[in-house]
């Protein structure tokens, strides 16, 4: 368990460092705001139906041994 926390801490430290550094740099966005019409299309939403997504993740968590890592998550009994 300690190893997991340590590796997780490293990931958090790395990413937060990048976040802090972003305030010191001036990276030019390579996709301009006016070029994001496709990304703004509803079919590109990573989770357009949060209630349904949560329900399905709950179904899988009840029937498989794995959990997490899928961005949005869900819960509930649903049982044996």
């Amino acid at each position: 368990m300690r190893t997991s926390f340590r590796s997780m801490s490293r990931v958090v430290l790395l990413i937060t460092s990048v976040a802090w550094l972003s305030g010191c740099t001036n990276i030019e966005p390579w996709v301009k705001p006016y070029e994001r019409d496709h990304l703004a299309d509803p079919i590109m939403a990573l989770d357009s139906d949060p209630v349904s997504t949560a329900y399905m993740q709950h179904v899988y968590e009840a029937r498989e041994g794995a959990r997490g890592g899928e961005g949005a998550a869900g819960g509930g009994c649903g049982c044996n």
């Binding site: 997780m8 958090v12 966005p29 949060p50 209630v51 029937r63 890592g69 869900g74 049982c79």
Partner: protein, 378 residues
């Protein structure tokens, strides 16, 4: 019951939504009916979500979810009696937007006749690099109380913690990707108080007897998920997703899916294939050689070696056009879907077949999952 202790911890994802900061989530309401049928189990109920913005920087969300369970599953018919159960879950959340930073706090409460769960979670999202990158850090803490319906004095506790990091990245004008890393730890009474393991017993006619499960008191898991969605030239989208999972119970899992989304007038069609494969927990056995053969023992088929396949078909009809609106609604849609789930268990025998001990056929599950929901944006 092992899944019960993870659900509330993970549900905060529903309330927080995907890792997109700088803009508050849209005001919307969803009313969903779900139905699961398969393996002698029927579960149905509603889920209602309401999200509303208060001013320019605060959004609140509430969710009410119910499972009505009627179970005569393979576990139940071989070691217990069919039962009915009801679970109710309430959750509340608040999002606070300040500049490019969004802070979220959530509270979730779930109750059953023999299981109570409470979860608190907090996350921070930050937009960076011209809003091309969104970083999310999350933490959740949960407590469970495990009971037994046949023993009012039985009470065991669990504590759960979850740490997550999410990175959503716009890669090109047609491609967006998300990376999620999650560590979860459980501590306490982690096995099902009702479930039994099977051991070889030459003194009985069936050749085997049962004794209660006994799980380790801690579990830590790590999961890494990567997904990418691409906008196709003729206005359709394709998404690929992969997740690697590993935990201290020696379960390793690989999950992959492929989704295709195709709009056609007011309709949107979705087809998705999902594959999951996992190894079994180190203390899992389908048949132990004798009573109390190992320090820890379990026969929960969800912890066994298995492979699952799902085919999803979904259609959505937008009955309030986003360009016209209706009354104070900006948009409205109705969606129906079916998920056809099939699970091959590689080390879990079907005891209902009545075969001699040790030579029973492996169990196989087929289930259909139906959803119908109405959504309004305002």
């Amino acid at each position: 019951m092992n899944f019960k202790r993870t659900f509330a911890l993970l549900l905060f994802g529903l309330l927080t939504g995907p890792a997109v900061a700088g803009v508050l989530p849209e005001d919307r309401s969803d009313v969903l009916y779900h139905l699961y049928v398969g393996g002698g189990v029927e579960i149905d109920g509603p889920s209602i979500l309401v999200r509303k913005q208060l001013g320019n920087s605060v959004s609140v969300v509430g969710n009410y979810y119910v499972d009505y369970v009627s179970s005569a599953s393979i576990d139940v018919v071989t070691t217990a009696s069919p039962y009915t159960e009801e679970r109710r879950q309430y959750s509340l959340g608040i999002d606070y937007l300040r500049g490019n930073t969004t802070m979220r706090a959530n509270y979730i409460s779930s109750t059953e006749s023999d299981f109570d769960s409470t979860t608190y979670s907090f996350s921070v999202s930050q937009d960076m690099f011209g809003d091309l990158t969104t970083l999310t850090l999350g933490y959740a803490y949960g407590e469970d109380i495990v009971g037994r319906s046949d023993d009012p004095t039985f009470r065991r506790d669990n504590r759960r913690q979850q740490y997550s990091v999410g990175l959503t990245q716009i890669l090109t004008r047609n491609l967006i990707a998300a990376l999620n890393v999650e560590t979860a730890t459980d501590e306490g009474f982690l096995n099902n108080p009702y479930r039994s393991v099977r051991y070889f017993d030459p003194d009985v006619a069936s050749g085997y007897s049962f004794e209660p499960e006994l799980y380790p008191h801690t579990r830590t898991s790590n999961a890494v998920g990567l997904r990418a969605r691409y906008f196709l030239p003729y206005r359709a989208a394709v998404e690929v997703e992969y997740r690697y999972f590993i935990d201290t119970w020696d379960i390793q899992g690989n999950t992959a899916s492929l989704t295709y989304i195709h709009p056609w007038g007011p309709f949107t069609f979705t087809i998705k294939g999902r594959y999951h494969d996992q190894t079994g927990a180190h203390f899992y056995r389908d048949l132990f050689p004798r009573a109390q053969a190992t320090n820890f023992r379990g026969r929960d088929k969800e912890l066994s070696e298995l492979t699952s396949y799902t085919l999803k078909l979904k259609v959505s009809y937008q009955f309030i056009d986003v360009n016209k609106g209706w009354s104070f609604f900006k948009k409205g849609s109705i969606t129906a879907s079916i998920d056809m789930l099939s699970i091959d268990y590689h080390d879990f025998s079907d005891l209902t077949a009545g075969a001699p001990v040790g030579s029973e056929p492996l169990y196989h599950l087929d289930a259909n999952i139906f959803q119908v929901f109405v959504s309004f944006w305002y």
